[in-house]
């Protein structure tokens, strides 16, 4: 029954997508707006099909219906309810189902949002592209990745249960859905990009209209990646959070290119430049999500995260190829319309900084992609011998790029559009640069060595101070405009919150979050210490300045697993319980770590070996400073994104960086010191007039 229901849902979704495609094609080719309006009605039907399939799958999982192969492989009677629910996306076919329903949600939301323009060709083409993607993924579920296939033979009495690593931590409830909300969300700007190329309407501001959608997708992709790192840290037991695993890289690639796109779009809105860049970036982001799907599911890449092998690999590759061909072809076809009306006036301007930003991010993505696929290439070229590309390679190449990005993050918010001069920049960046150098000097005096960490800390402080400066200016500007508008002092002070919302200000908060994350990352990887303590019951050991006291042990039995826990008191304070758990019988015992997290450092405890008879246990201890900064930084990034989505003072996208906020009195001419000679005494009175909000 569940299987039939599920099949019905998938079929419904697929059929709706296909019919929707046909109707829209008729409407577009024959120029019949009524067909276009009718075409958008199929989106809710796709969503309905997805919902029916998901309901069927969840019902099968929760009621342990082992007549379905998927349930038999990923669920068992002893699986707790939470992990039954998350079993839907724990393996390949179910993950495609999650992808499908996310697509259904996005396409319905898009159709609803643009319902007033349903007979607009641009919107119709975009809807058509979304339908094609839906048809592909629902089609996968009809054939190769069928989540509702029946077991051949007798129905087993009990299932195998989910992968042990996926039943350890409730984070499995959040990480994949958030990740998919992010990855799938990039389909929408891609659809609009293709639509704009096909219709030739490349000058319209479809990027502005879809900006919040792109930001939404980007935010969830960021959450997904950071949650993934957190999960890796809390569950896998090696004390690290990023292993440059092919599947991790698969989610990082669209994030990198998507971030470049979010920045570069500002140049197009402001000056109409970098059009080909933006279209290429958005098409590349979507293609990388498809390539990422392939990497995760094809079985070609060995990874601790990868799903099992399947025949959908070639299909995904084919779709990837189709996307690339369509994208490149369209850009080449419409090349003449994409010519910018102007050029970059000067590299030393915000346009130039965004161009450099694009280059760095694209190079970053290239390095990650090359490192991920190179072992495959090498084996293809030299059959028989293999080469591994791991963290040392990525770190060596990526760290200089990251430092360059930090530098851009520091300089760009203060760079004006069009053209800048050393005088202007010297004045604006003096304080942030002093802070940066002071941090470096402080670190050296504090005994920190290593050029990479020092540069990271210094540039991070520089970038954070620069972003802080922009925020301060923006808040001051809001105060000033509120006072000028006649509000009483208390209200005017509160009105400063307006200086924190809006695209640019939210962006500054995001930058601060990135800096916090980068500093935490650097400190944890560069200054982490690993070791073991061998303790018998009651003994205390020390490592890296922390004491660990072995208080006792405990055995915890649940229907799904038996856990042997060790109680350790860290630094005479709280007690932590690393454990070794056995799920089922005849499976490999899985270790779970316990972490003492404080804002300054994390003490990460694992059980390395248990003696056969009474004796000393070996515990692994990893002490890493500033790990919590990673999660704080991630939270700040999300907060900044949300702030960025809140509309700030409505302003034309073409206003200059330091322009006064609308509604404020124009600055008196005497305020503007005509300082011809470049000097650092360019009075900041001129600058304090303007709010920091960039267009």
């Amino acid at each position: 029954m569940n299987g039939t229901l599920g099949h019905t849902g998938v079929l419904l979704g697929f059929a709706a997508a296909v019919v929707g495609i046909l109707v829209l094609i008729v409407g577009l080719v024959r120029g019949r707006p009524d067909q276009l309006r009718r075409g958008r009605l199929y989106a809710p039907v796709i969503l309905l099909g997805g919902i029916v399939a998901v309901v069927a799958m969840q019902r099968a999982l929760v009621t342990h219906d082992f007549s379905l192969t998927y349930v038999a492989d990923n669920n068992s009677r002893s699986t707790p309810l939470l992990y039954s629910i998350t079993g839907m996306w724990s393996a390949l076919a179910g993950s495609i189902l999650l992808w499908g329903i996310t697509l259904g949600i996005y396409v319905t939301a898009m159709v609803w949002r643009f319902r007033a323009r349903a007979d607009d060709q641009l919107v119709a083409w975009a809807t058509l592209v979304m339908y094609v993607v839906c048809a592909f993924f629902f089609g996968l579920m009809l054939g190769p990745a069928d989540p509702f296939s029946h077991v051949s033979g007798a129905i087993p009495p009990d299932g195998l249960g989910p992968n042990v690593l996926l039943q350890d931590n409730p984070l499995v409830l959040f990480h994949p859905p958030m990740l998919y909300l992010g990855l799938v969300g990039f389909t929408l700007p891609f659809a609009f990009a293709v639509a704009s190329l096909v219709t030739g309407r490349v000058d319209e501001d479809w990027q502005g209209e879809t900006r919040r959608w792109t930001l939404f997708a980007w935010t969830f992709l960021t959450i997904g990646i950071v949650l993934g790192a957190w999960w890796s840290y809390q569950v896998l037991g090696w004390g690290g959070f990023w292993a440059w695993d092919p599947v991790e890289n698969a989610s990082l690639l669209p994030w990198l290119v998507g971030t470049a796109y979010l920045h570069s779009v500002m140049v197009q809105q402001r000056r109409g430049l970098l059009r080909v860049w933006n279209l290429s970036l958005v098409i590349a982001t979507f293609s990388l999500t498809i390539l990422g799907t392939f990497i995760t599911r094809s079985g070609v890449f060995q990874s601790v995260h990868a799903f099992s092998t399947s025949v959908i690999g070639p299909l995904l590759l084919g779709f990837f190829g189709l996307v690339i061909v369509v994208g490149v072809g369209l850009i080449a076809w419409r090349g003449d319309r994409l010519r910018s009306p102007g050029g970059i006036d000067s590299l030393f301007s915000r346009e130039g900084a965004f161009l450099a930003n694009n280059l760095l991010f694209v190079l970053f993505a290239f390095v990650v992609l090359l490192g991920t696929v190179f072992p495959i290439f090498y084996e293809a070229l030299n059959s028989g011998s293999q080469v591994a590309v791991g963290a040392p390679y990525f770190n060596r190449l990526v760290i200089p790029l990251g430092l360059g990005l930090l530098f851009l993050m520091a300089v760009a918010p203060a760079l004006p559009w069009r053209k800048s001069s050393a005088a202007v920049m010297r004045g604006r960046l003096a304080v942030p640069a002093c802070i940066g150098v002071a941090v470096v000097v402080g670190c050296v005096l504090g005994g920190i060595t290593g050029i990479e960490p020092l540069l990271a800390f210094g540039l991070g402080a520089f970038a954070a101070a620069s972003a802080g400066r922009a925020l301060v200016l923006s808040v001051k500007g809001s105060w000033r405009s509120a006072r000028t508008a006649g509000a009483p002092p208390a209200r005017a002070a509160l009105a400063g919150w307006r200086g924190l919302v809006g695209r640019a200000n939210g962006g500054m908060v995001v930058h601060i979050g990135v800096v916090v994350l980068a500093v935490g990352l650097t400190a944890a990887t560069a200054f982490g210490q690993r070791g073991t303590v061998v303790l018998a019951h009651g003994q205390t050991g020390t490592f890296a300045g922390h004491t660990v006291e072995f208080i006792g042990t405990r055995v915890v039995r649940t229907p799904s697993h038996i856990s042997q826990q060790a109680l350790l008191r860290v630094d005479g304070g709280a007690v932590f319980t690393p454990a070794i758990s056995q799920f089922g019988i005849g499976t490999r015992p899985v270790g779970s770590p316990a972490v003492d997290s404080t804002i300054t450092s994390d003490v990460y405890l694992t059980i390395n070996s248990v003696p056969d008879r009474g004796g000393a246990w070996t515990f692994g201890v990893v002490v890493q400073p500033l790990v919590m900064w990673l999660w704080i930084g991630g939270t700040l990034i999300v907060v900044g994104s949300v702030l960025s989505a809140i509309p700030g003072k409505r302003r034309r996208p073409t206003d200059p960086v330091s322009a006064p906020v609308a509604g404020a009195a124009p600055p008196p001419v005497a305020d503007l010191e005509p300082e011809v000679v470049p000097s650092t005494e360019v009075p900041d009175a001129r600058l304090s007039v303007g709010a920091g909000e960039a267009p």
Partner: protein, 198 residues
């Protein structure tokens, strides 16, 4: 008299031909070529579940197989054992090992009679007691080395159980399998090695 040149005789000044920029096309072609190469290679890769794989030991003398068994007795295989030796790295928690266990028992029994092959098991990433129970339950009659230090696994380059090596009578490694083996697989490999003159 000035020459009046008829207007038709003056060639109309042609507008200078703007050099057509094919940049977009060249970049597009480059991207397509790279993408095509990427897809071609990725599409033709076999999934990572093959049985017989490469090892740097193939064709070379096998590392010394000696140590303490799970029962505490010493065991050492001569450098040139004189028979084929199947060295099987296993663990009691390893599900594929459980699959291939009965096949090994069958293989050992058959070749014990003909005397041309023997089996030696080595514990990998497991407790000695667990391994001992596992082998006893299986009915294994051949020696099981405990490999406390893990050096034997290191010398053979073992990554994960089950890993099986076939060693020729003269001591050279002739095959390395990383998936569960069947008795038929092993017989086939022995036949292949014998045909090659080992």
């Amino acid at each position: 008299m000035t020459d009046v040149i008829a207007p038709e005789a003056i060639p109309a000044p042609r507008p200078p031909r703007r050099p057509t920029r094919h940049t977009a096309r060249w970049v597009g072609v480059t991207v397509l070529v790279i993408a095509a190469g990427l897809i071609a290679v990725l599409a033709t890769r076999p999934p990572t579940t093959t049985t017989e794989v490469q090892s740097p030991l193939l064709g070379h003398p096998a590392p010394r197989i000696s140590g303490v068994t799970v029962d505490g007795k010493a065991f050492a295989l001569p450098r040139a054992p004189g028979t084929f030796v199947v060295v099987n790295f296993f663990a009691s928690w390893c599900v594929p090992c459980q699959t291939e266990g009965p096949d090994l028992v069958q293989f050992a029994f058959q070749h014990h009679k003909s005397g041309d092959a023997q089996v030696v098991s080595v514990v990998f990433d497991d407790t000695v007691s667990g391994a001992r129970t596992y082998q006893a339950t299986l009915g294994a009659t051949w020696p099981t080395l405990a490999d406390h230090s893990g050096d034997l696994a290191l010398n053979f380059g073992v990554r994960a159980p089950p890993s099986t090596f076939l060693i020729a009578p003269d001591g050279r490694v002739v095959a390395y399998l990383v998936a569960p083996v069947t008795a038929a697989d092993l017989d086939q490999l022995i036949a292949r090695a014998k045909a090659a003159g080992l």
